[in-house]
Amino acid sequence: MTSLDFNQIQKLNHSIQQIYSLNDYQNFGIQAISIMHRLVPSDIPSFHTVDIANCYISDTFLPNFPGFTPEMKTARYRSFGEHPIIQQAPKTLYGAHKISDFITSKELHSLEGVYQQYLKPLGIEDHMTVGILPNKLTGKKPPKKAFIGLALYRAQRSFTETDRLLLNLLCPHFFQAHNNIQQYQQLQYPLNHLSLLVIDTAGVIRSATNQTTTWLTTYFTTIPYATQIPDTLWSWVKKQIADLNKNPTKTCLPLRILQNDRQLIIRLVTQQQKDEYLLILEEKTSTLLDSLTNLGLSPRETEVLYWVMQGKDNNAIASQIGISSSTTRKHLESTFYKLGAKSRTEAITKALEKLGFL
């Protein structure tokens, strides 16, 4: 039975902690193989995710490796069933297994696809894969469709049993850490995609996401890195708070700041801790015209309806979009028909109803 000496245990233990300190989901693969590489070196270390449903393998390598050529990738797909580790599946899907566990050098060299077109051009003689299947693991719900794995390529048949043991010991941690980081990322995502601004009761910024800072400078022309929110915004917040104190059941309307065809919408959320306010910022490029396209009218009809909603009469609309007033009337009639309305007033009402305003 292979065992580890104290020094190896310490190195392994340190590597495990490093795996769990990773917090960047996008770069998990590359950071994970860097950690693995220091423990079990190889000529080409890689991390891959396999999407079983779509037969899609995506590989991650260390930055100094240029990646597989398209020919190698094709060869890998075509000779998939020829690979001794795949042939021995499912027992080889979990844990560390190498080609040399199953076939001799000579047998490997006779493999047309796996060796001649894929491993040989890389100068590789042995290939160890570490399947990280979820079923042996404790904890959270495992993903169903995709699994992750590690692969190590060496120019010599030099993988030792200690290498295998270390990889087998690391294996559950790669899975657990990947799961944790994924779970973390799923909560982190909304925070990255919503722009939030937390201020204290004196209008001093406590925290702001990057997007928020950018918008504050574009819409308010404040200096970047200001510690105080812009004066106009602060007056608005104070007014809303005063209104809310008078009438707590009132919901406050968002603040809208227009700039060209974009608008910044700022919502105020108070609750919970009373000593700070949360502002949620949202930028909308969509105009009324954009939302009217959701009604299923033709582009012209949509345009006509838009001007009707701006209070224009048929003549004004005709000259606005450069068509005759009889064409305008025709568009309007078919719009009425589609919306089930008899008058222009009713058309507006029906449109607003459908868009959910009324």
Binding site: F6, G139, L187, R256, G311, I348
Partner: protein, 366 residues
């Protein structure tokens, strides 16, 4: 030098993974000592947070241990610096140390506070402590040190126990920090009324307020793991309509009486492929609003009657219908309408609607 057997390494490895599968910060202490106790058993295992400014110690024990009596706690604070492991800080901050490393049983028994009023009352003879590292994230300015402490009634701690504890140490600390980070994230999200769904419509995360709203607007029980069918149909429809990231989806509005729940959808794709993967998820951001149009109209500065007339105009009613509904004459209706037009500065009812909606910000509200 002690070495670990293959079996011991396997057990340690498995316990480490268990530690990192913990995701509840509030229960971290008790769950961590449960895991630790399987590797290095002791009569009383505990997880402690030491605040060195106030010399306050906050303990977590396994559920079957009743805890320290107030008298013991008091003795511990008074004789804080009498403890040989604490006395030797900072040297003792880097790993597991036991009382018997520094003083022999006789010396310990002669210590008035530590032994007579504290360890002896617990019927404990030796005490092994291991600080995990600094943690200053809980309260800014308040430096706390998480640590574990094991009590035994015999002098039976071995060097192997110490070794295993020292190997666990970085993981106890890392996992503690990870769950703390995770909790912070959850707290930040609590500001928002959010539901996170997987690609099958199962609820992965929901805030308390969101659950209450779903119950109120969709009449489902809060313990349901699936979102209401009607809502799920809407999400799926939006999701299949297009994978154009730049497009903003129209929010869903569900009205109950004069309140409205506005549901906004954000589709999160973790991969660039067009097919759905396990990692994808849907975020619903909920917001409740008073939807009463009449109430919003009152902010326009019209008289009560004018507001009512304008409301009915917006609902597409003719003058005759308005007159009947409000039980006023047609000419009075016309008079109200005219003065409304004048106040709004418009000439036709269409213009009046357009003007009103613009003033209220409804039109730009998509």
């Amino acid at each position: 030098m002690i070495n670990l057997t293959s079996k011991e390494i396997q057990n340690l490895n498995q316990s480490i993974q268990q530690l990192y599968s913990l995701d509840n910060f509030d229960d971290f202490g008790v769950e961590a000592i449960q895991i630790m106790n399987q590797l290095v058993p002791s009569e009383i295992p505990s997880f402690i947070l030491v605040n060195f400014h106030s010399q306050q110690i906050q303990d977590t024990f396994l559920p079957d241990f009743p805890g320290l009596t107030p008298a013991m706690e008091k003795a511990r604070v008074i004789f804080f610096n009498e403890h040989p492991v604490i006395k030797r800080i900072p040297q003792t901050l880097d790993g597991a140390y036991k009382i018997s490393d520094f003083i022999d049983p006789k010396e310990l028994q002669s210590s008035e506070g530590l032994y007579q009023r504290y360890l002896r009352t617990l019927e404990m003879a030796d005490h092994m402590c291991m600080s995990l590292g600094l943690s200053n994230s809980a309260h800014p300015g308040k430096l706390e040190i998480p640590a574990v402490a094991l009590y035994r009634s015999q002098y039976s701690f071995t060097e192997r126990d110490r070794l295993i504890l020292n190997l666990l140490r970085p993981h106890l600390y890392q996992a503690y920090c990870n769950t703390q980070q995770y909790k912070k994230l959850q707290q930040a999200l609590n500001y928002l009324d959010l539901v996170i769904l997987d690609t099958e419509g199962r609820i992965k995360y929901i805030t308390a307020q969101s659950a209450a709203w779903l119950e109120k607007y969709c009449t489902i029980s809060t313990c349901s793991l699936q979102i209401p069918d009607s809502l799920w149909l809407w999400v799926k429809h939006q999701a299949t309509k297009g994978i154009d990231r730049s497009k903003s989806y129209l929010p869903l509005r569900i009205s109950v009486n004069d309140h409205q729940l506005i549901v906004r959808l954000i589709i999160q794709r973790n991969s660039d492929r067009s097919t759905c993967t396990e990692e994808d998820q849907y975020l619903l951001i909920l917001e409740e609003r008073k939807s009463s149009l009449v109430e919003a109209l009152t902010t326009l500065g019209l008289s009560k009657r004018e507001t009512e007339v304008l409301h009915l105009v917006i609902l597409g009613k003719s003058n005759k219908e308005i007159a009947i509904q409000m039980s006023i004459s047609a000419s009075t209706t016309r008079r109200h309408l005219e003065s409304t037009f004048h106040k709004l500065g418009v000439k036709s009812r269409t213009e009046a609607i357009a003007q009103t909606l613009q003033k209220l910000g409804v039109i730009n509200n998509v």
